[in-house]
């Protein structure tokens, strides 16, 4: 005799597909992402890569790289903020971040001194944005003080604001806020932590 319970159990198990987990090869996900991209519905793509400073989250819009995040920033909450600040149409699509990933890899291998990937600065506004734009002018292996950065960004008295712009840089590494230090030579804050800032400056000084 079959019971209702047995029928219900059978329902729950009867359509699970093969015994392996769902979409393990990612074909369905890949197809969804490809279609979304073609139809202009992929607002933010992201991937994570390994680096000597730990896993990095890379996120891009159609305009360019929009966010680089260290794992201490908590990648999941970074993605949630991107969902509310930009768009929740977010899918993991490493292919769209190939170029940025490769350039970062080359940078960590000491083979690249400047990044050429397009960037999207929509997460920074006003003076902060001016500070970020200036960061690219600080050459590899050199440092500049927060005071000098504030001046270069057009507001010499806004030293604290300049420091804050650096410590909230949405694109660390690519926009080299690690090259900005205090006037007394101490390192100052860094999204990736003080050790990371120290390691980057040491690496660049050696190269």
């Amino acid at each position: 005799m079959t019971t209702d319970k047995q029928i219900i159990d059978r329902l729950e198990q009867g359509f699970a597909g093969s015994s392996t987990a769902f979409d393990t090869d990612g074909r369905l996900h890949g197809r969804l992402a490809a279609l979304a991209e073609r139809q202009g519905l992929l607002d933010v793509s992201y991937c994570t890569i390994d680096s000597p400073l730990g896993p990095l989250l890379l996120a891009a819009t159609g305009k360019g790289l929009v966010r680089v995040a260290f794992s201490r920033e908590d990648h999941q909450s970074v993605l949630s903020r991107l969902a509310s600040d930009i768009s929740p149409r977010i899918l993991r699509t490493p292919r769209r971040l190939d170029k940025a990933a490769r350039q970062l890899e080359e940078y960590f291998a000491g083979k690249r001194r400047a990044f050429t990937v397009p960037v999207d600065l929509q997460l920074a506004h006003g003076f902060r944005r001016s500070v970020l734009l200036h960061l690219r002018e600080i050459p590899y292996g050199e440092t500049q003080s927060y005071t000098a950065v504030a001046k270069a960004a057009g507001n010499p008295s806004a030293v604290r604001a300049a420091a804050s712009a650096c410590s909230h840089n949405p694109l660390p590494l690519v926009l080299p806020c690690h090259r900005v230090v205090r006037s007394d030579g101490t390192l100052g804050e860094y999204l990736g932590g003080p050790e990371a800032k120290h390691a980057l400056l040491a690496m660049e000084a050696a190269g």
């Binding site: 005799m1 209702d4 699970a16 279609l35 991107l82």
Partner: protein, 165 residues
């Protein structure tokens, strides 16, 4: 004080990860193993389109199953009148391989049920929606949905015990 209208802010990737497998089970039960991949893709594509307008706090699973329900009806009405996205779907390199393990006997028994009962059984027991949600999906109410699900299970039981006794 008026707060800005809250919109869904969970990254869509998390929806696919959390609900992808369940939506696939529902699609397999609704349209069978051959068309399930297309139904799944159309469901998530439509969901992605509408997602930014979904109010915060919505029941995501219920919403996705509702879309799958509509896509399944479209598919069952005939491949000739497929909605737009279907034609845009890139071909999967290999046909969906997982069909071998599907419970064919159960599928046949489900297909033989009247539409309301079939829907009620699938949405209640496979998609784990509440009777109120199932009722809304089927254009009735919680009481009717509960009755349809019970009737559906009863006739599945009758049909399936025949072969095993």
């Amino acid at each position: 004080m008026t707060a800005p209208r809250q919109r869904a802010a969970q990254p869509f990737e998390e929806l696919v990860a959390e609900h992808g497998a369940l939506v696939m089970r529902v699609c397999r039960a609704l349209v069978g193993p051959v068309d399930a991949a297309d139904a799944w893709s159309e469901t998530f594509f439509s969901a992605l389109q509408a997602y930014p307008r979904l109010p915060a706090g919505s029941n995501i699973r219920g919403w996705l199953v509702t879309i799958a329900h509509r896509k399944a009806i479209d598919q069952l009405r005939g491949a000739a009148r497929r909605p737009e996205p279907a034609r845009e779907l890139p071909e999967l390199a290999v046909a969906e391989p997982a069909s071998a393990d599907d419970d064919d006997e159960l599928r046949a028994a489900l297909d033989a049920l009247p539409l309301k009962q079939r829907g009620a059984v699938i949405y209640r027991y496979l998609a784990e929606l509440s009777y109120a949600e199932v009722g809304e999906l089927l254009g009735s109410n919680a009481t009717a949905a509960r009755r349809s699900a019970a009737d559906g299970i009863a006739s599945l039981r009758k049909r399936l015990s025949k072969g095993t006794s």
